[in-house]
Symmetry: C2
Subunit: 224 residues, 2 copies
DNA sequence: CTGTATCCATGGCGATACTG
DNA sequence: CAGTATCGCCATGGATACAG
């Protein structure tokens, strides 16, 4: 860990946190991931060796507590780690307001589905099993089709047809759905523009924005 | 600038902010520094080449506005940059609470004096010129003696005797004064323990804690 | 004073393969 | 599933000197 040679608390914090990927791992832990490969899903472009290294660093500085669970390990934030929520939130708010341009390489369908799996507002969905068939119109075929299954408060995401009756189909450009999820665009606008198309009963077409919702940070006000 | 390939606002923010030194430069700009060598005083261990590079990066992403002022340049935060105050504050709060251990190399008397120069509560000082002669008992002779001159709301820090009549002398270990300044220890405790010794009229001995005060973050509550 | 230019070593980190 | 092991590049950034 490189040092700054400053007693300033900001510098001392950055000695721990400024290394590449570190705060994204913390973000995943804050979102509730506890196991190695679960963490990997949230930072897929990070090599496993580096993730292991970061977890060891975070454990050493007391941000993460590692527990051995008979062979496998689990990683949980300590009190110190949980308090990084304030830092992560400030970064997210700032990033949403001021770093709006997304490159093509930022648009990863796996990450979007993983994020949705964790944060879909299941309480808005019907009690009965509900299945959305999602199709990204502008994505390489192997990652273009997804199924969202909500049943009894549980969300499952499949990249193959699970075989259940489909409640509705959703067809959209990946960028459009990412923008709506982040709150860069609104659901009504995206539907009106025709960039997100819902194929199904009119009731579902009306409810879909509430079912899918938006990420937590979406409501952050944007600069005028 | 290395990318993460994620649309997450935290990741997009960190692409801009996670490089070494970047947020410390922003901190200096938030504290009001505007010129190159003024910034350098706040990040003395950073090479000038790297500082120039970081300033260019920050300008490119719209955090800093550079102005040409007839030969020299000044650097001012944009609206986007000013909003990084929330990030810096969250980092400082967390760092103060959880990264308490300071190594010897973190104890730089120049940085302490530079910080004090900017943030001394001059409104607490007498109207008439007041001079404190500071001596660090445990620091290499060339950086051990400092004079703080407060006059008409202006603070001057000298590393040589400015020749004015000295109101009082303060003798202390560098670490002790840093700890008090950060709020890791209280003024009463430091004086009582004898680690900070004030040599002067009893009125000054009473007033000194209010004159020097503590850094802004010092009041952050510490973990039990 | 305000930077720029150059050089160089380090090690961070990405890629890949592999193991219990 | 949960990591380790290894390799090698190249970019980061530290140091120093110098220029306008």
């Amino acid at each position: 860990m490189a040092t700054y040679g400053q007693f300033c608390p900001v510098a001392k914090a950055m000695e721990v946190l400024d290394e590449r990927w570190t705060l994204l791992v913390v973000r995943e832990l804050l979102y509730g991931s506890t196991h190695f490969n679960e963490l990997r899903r949230g930072v897929p472009k990070m090599s496993p060796a580096l993730l292991a290294k970061r977890l060891r660093s975070l454990e050493r500085v007391g941000v993460v507590q590692r527990r051995d669970e008979g062979g496998r390990s689990s990683y949980v934030l300590s009190q110190s780690g949980r308090e990084l929520a304030g830092v992560v939130e400030a970064l997210g708010t700032w990033g949403l307001r001021w770093i709006g341009e997304l490159g093509e390489e930022d648009l990863d369908p796996h990450l979007l589905m993983w994020d949705m799996k964790r944060k879909l507002p299941v309480q808005e969905w019907p009690r009965a099993r509900t299945v959305l068939a999602l199709r990204f119109t502008d994505v390489t075929p192997t990652s273009a089709r997804w199924w969202i299954v909500v049943n009894g408060g549980e969300v499952d995401i499949c990249d193959f047809d699970p075989g259940f009756e489909v409640t509705a189909g959703v067809s959209t450009g990946l960028r459009s759905l990412v923008q709506v999820w982040r709150g860069d665009r609104s659901w009504p606008e995206a539907l009106r523009s025709g960039e997100v198309v819902v194929d199904g009963p009119s009731l579902v077409r009306r409810e879909l924005p509430r079912w899918l919702g938006q990420s937590e940070l979406a409501s952050v006000p944007r600069p005028a």
